[in-house]
């Protein structure tokens, strides 16, 4: 059942040239006592059988739900051209472009991706991507620790709890101290945050829009962060950058985020795309691959992996990170997605997300018992207060064919009756109305 091409005759010829008489002799260096004690696996199956079996498993997942769940991971439309282009096996069956002369396609695509990330975030340099938004944020925090030589990090609790938990997990054996600033009415508490700034602070981490969907302009906070010689790190949602003030415009030093919304399927949590951009002066602290432009011996433009002395294969235990790959194919998806929708299309996409969410807010506010929280402006996600625990409501709404949102009580104490609702460009007016009607019926 394997994909081995050899004929019996060829195997015989090869063994003869090696100078042995059986395949088993190739493994003579493994003493009998160290041989596998068991290898109890099912027999192989045909392609038809495996495909059928997995089709059945896929059918056990529900895909018919109308999705209002976001919480950092969004249901956006993916144009067919994205799938078609990343399905070219000249891309997906290649590996890291170690040999530039036979990898110019990949290298140029990543150079263009880096430019796109810089343009979106308003920052100077980008790497070739990281695993996901959470590991990107952790890498950004470590960049700040290294470049400032300090070890205190202030985290706004409007940052996705999943990412905060990842930050704490990764640093549990390191001497990094975190201070978490509670949110007030869904928005970051500036005074509280500024109060904790001192000359031990390496960085302040904020998210925009924050986990509750609140949009903010953090420029004033960033200015204060810089006064203490600390770095400001933003975790951002790339689709929103078609409309919202960019991290660069607010003065942030590093921006990271989850790139899934840029043409990458939700796919039950991965593979996703961690992006990272930073100010020029931080480039040598960046983790991961970076592609640069140069010239060949004829003076023709070409691309190479560069600034590699930061990386593990050269620096080993002194490297800026242990990462040895990137999420290239996901980065390619993001680049193709952005190229397809284009400069104007990105603005339009952001506008339509915003408009749909505003429409949903208006519609839901008419449902008796539902309170739409309006303490902060939002982009495409917002919180509503329900008269009953959100968990119960979610359960009933799923029965009605909706994934209605994320119950905040799962992540925040005392917020059991709150539901976080995301409305992307995919949701139609009719779906939003039905959602609201069903909610009315359920409550």
């Amino acid at each position: 059942m394997s994909y081995v091409p050899h004929t019996q005759e060829e195997i015989g010829q090869m063994l003869k040239i090696i100078g042995i008489s059986s395949v088993e002799e190739l493994f003579k260096d493994i003493p009998k006592s160290l041989r596998a004690k068991s290898f109890d696996l099912p027999p192989g199956m045909s392609e038809f059988e495996v495909t059928g079996r997995l089709k059945k498993l896929a059918a056990k997942n529900a895909t018919g739900l109308v999705n209002f769940v976001g919480a950092g991971f969004y249901d956006h439309f993916i144009p067919a051209a994205v799938d078609a282009l990343v399905s070219r096996s000249e891309f997906y069956t290649a590996y890291t472009p170690y040999q530039p002369e036979c990898s110019q396609g990949w290298l140029q695509a990543i150079y263009e991706y880096q430019t796109i990330i810089c343009e979106l975030t308003g920052l100077d340099v980008s790497n070739a991507s990281l695993y996901d938004g959470g590991t990107a944020l952790y890498e950004a925090a470590m960049m700040a620790v290294r470049s400032t030589g300090r070890n205190k990090i202030i985290v706004d609790s409007g940052v996705n709890l999943i990412y905060r938990t990842m930050l704490y997990s990764y640093t549990s054996n390191l001497s990094v101290e975190f201070v978490e600033i509670p949110v007030v009415h869904g928005q970051s508490s500036r005074d509280e945050l500024v109060k904790h700034l001192d000359d031990k602070t390496a960085a302040v981490i904020m998210q925009n829009p924050n986990f509750f969907g609140a949009v903010d302009d953090h420029s004033d906070v960033v200015e204060k962060v810089h006064k203490f010689g600390a770095l400001a790190i933003a975790s951002v949602y790339p689709i929103s950058l078609g409309m919202l003030k960019s991290p660069g415009e607010m003065g942030f030093d590093i921006a990271t985020g989850e790139g899934q919304s840029l043409g990458i399927p939700l796919s039950f949590g991965g593979p996703y795309l961690g992006f990272m951009a930073a100010k020029q002066e931080l480039v040598r602290q960046m983790p991961g691959r970076i592609v640069g432009a140069t010239v060949d011996t004829d003076g023709k433009r070409g691309f190479v992996l560069t600034l590699q002395t930061r990386e593990q294969h050269i620096r080993r235990e002194k490297a800026t990170s242990n990462i040895c790959s990137n999420e290239a194919l996901c980065a390619l998806r993001a680049a193709i997605f952005v190229a397809l929708i284009g400069k104007e299309g990105l603005k339009e996409l952001a506008e339509h997300n915003y408009r749909n969410a505003e429409f949903a807010k208006d519609t839901l506010s008419k449902v008796s018992g539902v309170e739409v929280k309006r303490s902060s402006p939002t982009f495409n996600e917002f919180t509503i207060l329900l008269p009953r625990p959100a968990n119960e409501v979610v359960y009933r709404m799923i029965e009605k064919g909706f994934a209605p949102g994320f119950p905040l009580g799962k992540f925040y104490k005392g917020m059991d009756n709150y539901l976080l609702v995301a409305v992307t460009e995919k949701r139609t007016k009719e779906e939003i109305r039905k959602f609201s009607d069903s909610l009315e019926a359920v409550l």
Binding site: R284, Q308, T309, I314, R315, K318
Partner: protein, 129 residues
């Protein structure tokens, strides 16, 4: 192999030119040629207190990163900022324009731990055998 007579050397291929309480520091011709085209110098900061044999700067080529160790203990008083834009100066002129930093020596006795030109030359010849 260019090894000037008027300075002192370490086993890690740094040189120090000592004038009174001041030392001028760089890497040797041998070091620059084994690294190849130098692409970046990580300079120390002015005011850094450094200790003999301990890490104080980095020199990088495309595929290698090499630490620079302090030839003597003391305080960094000046760095060669030209190297930021022109790291190749270390390749071309390791002993003058490619000098990395200047320091104030805190313990002149440490000079005894360094090699003179003759000792360093035979040390390097031993390495290439």
């Amino acid at each position: 192999m260019d090894i000037p007579k008027d300075r002192f050397y370490t086993k890690e291929h740094e040189w120090a030119s000592i004038e009174g309480g001041t030392a001028y520091v760089g890497i040797t011709d041998y070091a620059q040629s084994s690294l190849g085209d130098i692409t970046f110098i990580g300079l120390p900061k002015i005011g850094d207190m450094i200790k003999q044999t301990e890490f104080c700067a980095t020199v990088e080529s495309v595929k290698a990163a090499s630490d620079v160790y302090a030839p003597l203990s003391g305080k960094v008083t000046a760095v060669n900022k030209d190297l930021v834009a022109h790291p190749e100066l270390v390749n071309k002129h390791p002993y003058d324009k490619g000098q990395i930093f200047v320091m104030e020596i805190s313990n002149p006795d440490e000079k005894a731990n360094l090699m003179d030109e003759e000792a360093y030359r035979s040390y390097v010849e031993g390495l290439s055998k």
